[in-house]
């Protein structure tokens, strides 16, 4: 309900700030000495368009706020499972950051297993299911590693391993 009710206002505010920041950063870029438009031209144009559009969206969102609120309330409460979303995001962030230092095999073994568990519906988390996920995890990770490393000759991050 929050996103339906305040979504356009937040979007408008975000883009207004973004437009202003882009215009400011464009001002810091050097001007071209050889031609009329330099590296600052496009950012300036884009920033200005963003600012104008964001103000238009904000104006319309504030004007229609009551109508949008009524629609949001009629749509009912937000039933999204944000715990799973947050857990998935944290796992992905950790995975991409440990991929190089730890290496493809260990980091992917850990990530894949945990990510499947996080996404699995509650009734798919029995001991038998978890064993299946672990087998899929191991088989998939080694299959991908050997396919890429020795089949496609693509060197994946070795980390603490060197195969």
């Amino acid at each position: 309900m929050f996103f339906r009710k305040y979504g356009d206002i937040i979007t408008g505010l975000f883009y207004a700030v973004l437009g202003a920041v882009v215009i400011y950063l464009a001002g810091l870029l050097p001007k071209s000495r050889v031609m009329k438009i330099g590296p600052d031209f496009m950012p300036l144009v884009i920033g200005s368009i963003i600012l104008v559009l964001a103000l238009m969206l904000l104006f319309s969102a504030v004007k229609n706020f009551k109508a949008n609120s009524a629609k949001a309330e009629a749509a009912g409460p937000d039933t999204a499972d944000y715990k799973r979303v947050l857990a998935s995001l944290v796992l992905v962030v950790i995975y991409v950051n440990i991929l190089a230092p730890v290496g493809f095999i260990i980091s992917t073994l850990g990530y894949l297993f945990l990510q499947i568990i996080v996404l699995a519906p509650n009734d798919r988390r029995s001991a038998k299911n978890i064993l299946t996920y672990a087998i899929i995890d191991v088989v998939f990770v080694f299959a991908v590693f050997f396919l890429f490393r020795y089949g496609f000759k693509i060197v994946l991050p070795a980390g603490i391993f060197s195969l």
């Binding site: 996103f3 979504g7 356009d8 937040i10 979007t11 883009y15 973004l18 950063l25 870029l29 071209s32 031609m35 009329k36 438009i37 330099g38 590296p39 950012p43 884009i46 368009i49 559009l53 964001a54 238009m56 969206l57 319309s60 039933t79 999204a80 499972d81 944000y82 799973r84 979303v85 857990a87 998935s88 995001l89 992905v92 962030v93 991409v96 950051n97 991929l99 190089a100 493809f104 990530y111 894949l112 990510q115 499947i116 996080v118 996404l119 699995a120 519906p121 509650n122 009734d123 798919r124 996920y133 899929i136 998939f140 991908v144 890429f148 496609f152 000759k153 693509i154 994946l156 991050p157």
Partner: protein, 497 residues
């Protein structure tokens, strides 16, 4: 010897058992690379390049052509089944392909995609065979202002794609343009928005952006509801390719239009299959008598995109073979292949190595046929993907995407940037902003600026661009598209009140 007799002789050489087997392997490898999000046709060609060292020049080039054709076409498989374009060329295939798969029509969607990929390829190869030198002359007439006109016209498609809530659609696209600004500015190489991070000087990679927006965001979006239970997607069985003869003939005019767009865009170096697919899709939607069905699972959307992106292959080969100018990453790899085999692409290639050139023409057509047969044979195997529970499938895809992102430049920065784009994709979903304008603007933004600045370097003022008829035509169409979209938006807004 006439073109037809040279083509016939080349076809006989290409159909020798060794050559045929190698081309089947090449097409299959291309399809695998194209269908896995994160792996691309250019990666497949790069991988195969050293393997062609020991082959004759003609055979080596035919294998590379096979990989290229398979790679571009393979993108439709993951686009339809997983809502993740395997290559940038099949972004627009997701718009109708995925809704069709969700309705149980995955096999029909794949059938439509495969057949019209084949027809698009054949159309462009016929054009390539008989009109290559003449079309290369036309391509040479395109100066930077004309290419800017095309890019500007393509950018106005955002307005069409955003119908219903134009302000939000345009804002969604603007963020794509902001990300396209990151890196060294065209022409003068000034570092822009890099914040002192060396890796950002090269800008964000197209492939990693797509992976983030589609694959990572899909994991986060699915995580919202996946706990409520597993939804099984039905797969309706079909006969043949899944569509009737009447449907086929109804789609032909749209397919010809899309193939012309694809070949036309392909001829112009630097614009590429992703733009042609998107342009053909929007054109098909605008010219349709039922535009409201586009995006809801209309096969005509797949016809337009797949015909156009495959027709781009033949188009892109024209400047490569005739002028020695590679239009995109894959054709740049192919140019490398020519050099490795001691051939110099350009006008003299037709004189000195006519056998190789006609061999490539024949290989293009035969590989398109191999692609049709291989993909059609494997349709039933492809749809098995839909039977894998989403909570298992999505993480597996993400790992492949991470590997693909890493393999693009062998740097971890690309893997990390998929998370940034994943979060953007998820927030777009939450705030009901369309992702297509973001992707379109990201893809075209950089080249728009480059052509504008190149044009201004040569023509000094923007006003001088209007002395070029090609620019005037595209600029006029772009202005008409903007005005028409504004008119429709105002009309719809008044009607809703």
């Amino acid at each position: 010897m006439g073109a037809l007799s040279q083509l016939g002789a080349a076809a006989l050489r290409v159909c020798e058992p060794t050559s045929l087997l190698l081309m089947i392997a090449g097409v299959t490898i291309g399809i695998i690379f194209g269908s896995i999000p994160g792996l691309s046709a250019s990666m497949a060609v790069a991988l195969m390049l050293p393997l062609t060292f020991s082959m004759s020049s003609s055979l080596g080039m035919n294998v590379l052509v096979a990989v290229y054709i398979g790679g571009i076409s393979g993108g439709l498989i993951s686009a339809i089944l997983l809502n993740m374009p395997g290559t940038a060329s099949s972004i627009a295939t997701t718009f109708d392909g995925y809704p069709m798969a969700q309705k149980g029509e995955a096999m029909k969607a794949l059938g439509v995609g495969i057949v019209f990929s084949f027809l698009g390829s054949i159309f462009s190869f016929v054009i390539l065979t008989f009109f290559a030198p003449w079309l290369a002359d036309v391509a040479l007439k395109f100066a930077a202002p004309d290419n800017f006109g095309i890019c500007f016209f393509a950018l106005t498609m955002v307005a069409v794609l955003s119908s219903g809530n134009m302000v939000k659609g345009l804002l969604a696209g603007m963020l794509g343009l902001v990300f396209a600004l990151v890196g060294l500015a065209p022409i003068d190489g000034t570092a822009r928005f890099t914040f002192g991070i060396p890796e950002m000087r090269g800008g964000f990679n197209t492939l990693t952006t797509l992976i983030g927006i589609f694959a990572v965001a899909d994991i986060l979006v699915s995580a919202e509801t996946i706990g409520k239970g597993i939804k099984t997607i039905p797969v309706k069985k079909v006969k043949g390719f899944g569509f009737s003869v009447a449907e086929f003939f109804r789609w032909i005019p749209g397919a010809i239009r899309a193939a012309l767009i694809g070949t036309g865009i392909g001829i112009l170096p630097g614009i590429g299959g992703s733009t042609s697919g998107m342009l053909a899709y929007v054109t098909a939607k605008n010219m349709s008598s039922h535009p409201e069905t586009f995006g809801q699972g209309d096969p005509e959307g797949i016809v337009a995109t797949e015909c156009a992106n495959n027709a781009t292959i033949g188009g892109a080969m024209i400047p490569l073979l005739v002028l020695g100018i590679p239009g995109d990453g894959v054709t740049a790899m192919m140019l490398g292949g020519f050099l490795i085999h001691g051939l110099s692409a350009g006008p003299l290639l037709f004189v000195k190595n006519a056998d190789v050139v006609y061999g490539i023409f024949a290989a293009c057509m035969i590989c398109a046929l191999i692609m049709l047969i291989v993909e059609w044979t494997c349709i039933k195997a492809f749809v098995q993907v839909l039977k894998v529970p989403k909570h298992v499938l999505l993480p597996l895809i993400l790992v492949l995407c991470a590997v693909g992102a890493y393999a693009t430049n062998n740097r971890i920065f690309d893997v990390q940037s998929i998370v940034v784009f994943g979060v953007i994709g998820y927030l777009y979903h939450k705030f009901r902003l369309p992702t297509t304008p973001f992707v379109l603007c990201f893809l075209i933004g950089r080249m728009t600026e480059e052509y504008l600045r190149r044009g201004l370097m040569r023509f000094k003022t923007f006003g001088a661009f209007f002395s070029r008829p090609i620019f005037c035509v595209f600029f006029a169409i772009a202005v008409a598209v903007i005005l028409w979209s504004l008119y429709k938006e105002v009309k719809a807004s008044r009607a809703s009140k």
